[in-house]
Symmetry: C3
Subunit: 192 residues, 3 copies
């Protein structure tokens, strides 16, 4: 009987050791964490029409700052270096400017390189549709001429409370300096 009991006891001790290993395995504070599976993916488009002095009616963005000597209705030479625009752009689920918007992309961008086209973006998707209610805020560098550019999701509210992840942007279309359309593929890794 003592042998039998010892065996049960041993099983318990074994389980104790197994448990400790398992507990370590799920440590939230390990040095390098396994990337979780994405918990949400959204693909949305937004459309930016820049004010050029003649399109006040349908412009959705305007230059508000630029280097010394610049006029705020004409993009500067020098790859627009220093031009800063504020925008309130419609968001659509497809690439048609005239589709019913599901929200607004609101924020700013500025051109920040002198030897190529590159920008820095800070903006928020304000979503208000049957599918999504809430905001996602983004920030980061946008090397415009690259086909795909990753920027950071830096926050979220509502359906996207404390969202974390990235957005992969590509320029779906553009017309000179007046119109561009960005396709934004948002991958979230933390959802509540």
């Amino acid at each position: 009987m003592a042998i039998w009991n010892g065996r049960v006891l041993n099983l318990c001790i074994l389980w104790l050791l197994v448990s400790i290993v398992l507990l370590n395995g799920i440590d939230c504070h390990s040095r390098k964490k396994k990337l979780p599976k994405p918990c949400r993916n959204l693909v949305l488009y937004f459309h930016d029409i820049i004010y050029n002095g003649k399109n006040a009616g349908n412009a959705t963005s305007t230059l508000v700052a630029a280097p010394q000597g610049a006029n705020l209705t004409i993009m500067t030479g020098n790859y627009h270096f220093g031009d800063l625009a504020v925008f309130d752009d419609p968001i659509t689920v497809d690439n048609n400017l005239h589709s019913p918007p599901v929200g607004r992309a609101q924020g700013f961008y500025f051109y920040d390189m002198k030897n190529t086209f590159s920008a820095w973006l800070g903006f928020t998707f304000v979503l208000n549709s049957t599918d999504y209610k809430g905001t996602i805020t983004f920030g980061g560098a946008d090397p415009i001429l690259a086909k795909y550019r990753d920027i950071s999701v830096v926050g979220g509210t509502g359906d996207f409370l404390m969202a974390r992840g990235i957005a992969t942007i590509d320029t779906d279309a553009y017309e000179g300096d007046v119109y561009f359309r960005l396709r934004v593929n948002i991958t979230l890794y933390e959802c509540y």
Copy 2:
């Protein structure tokens, strides 16, 4: 006796199963996470006095950018679309501008809609009181006319190291285009 031992063994196996269920329950990498309880809540006020050309002495913010043709001492028409202000505002624990400040709200905002009042904010609470030492940085869209607006906490330092959460803002008072006071209810879900 063998029956008794089997019962103890069964209990251990049962416990093994229960443990596995519990371990899954706390998986850090599940697709949708349970919202943790808030770990910190702060309610603070900040006070913005916009420079209008005559109040240089007590103004705490100033327009620095605006669309073509605008003057930086007068808010533009068009719902101030494109006006960008930089600020360094006192933070108080109550709604009195003259209460001893517990820190400064520093950052920028710009008006970004042409058909209503709406802004985008990027700013930091620099707190330096007996209760709090550190910074909280916020970013996001602020649809001013809504009673309560949520913006994202995007970072923190010091007492608020890597803070995550949201702030619910409401306009506690305003006087024309020159003064406004925001009440900021900060809820943090991650504290170190």
Copy 3:
């Protein structure tokens, strides 16, 4: 024998209690979390040369906004209050401006205090070296005259996907209003 079995049973119950305590101990959702060990540390320098009307060739940043009446080639008095600059600065691993850059620091800063030198920064390290490929985005207040200032890491992509942490900045060197060099000590607490 019944006593022995009872003892084994008690051990299992004890272990159940111990397990529950341990499970609580690693709860990801506790109110205050233990700060994890840093998973990555980088020390990098970036170099800002501000356009002053005469250095168009090698300037890496330019004023694009300022209060009413200001000229964008001269910093304003009043501790530069309201001056907003856009930059694309080389990043080096040592303090030599002429070392081969490992990336670019791209973003903006503005001076936001009227009674001392203080700024607010939003920028991205775009790293593209053999060691690092990806971006880290930062935001926060920078009380320039303090020796060390902490700002928040608010996002990251590539090698720095969803990075979280802080950066401690110090002004390594400066020359009047035209050049400054910042040493950035980045500590990340979450790495994937």
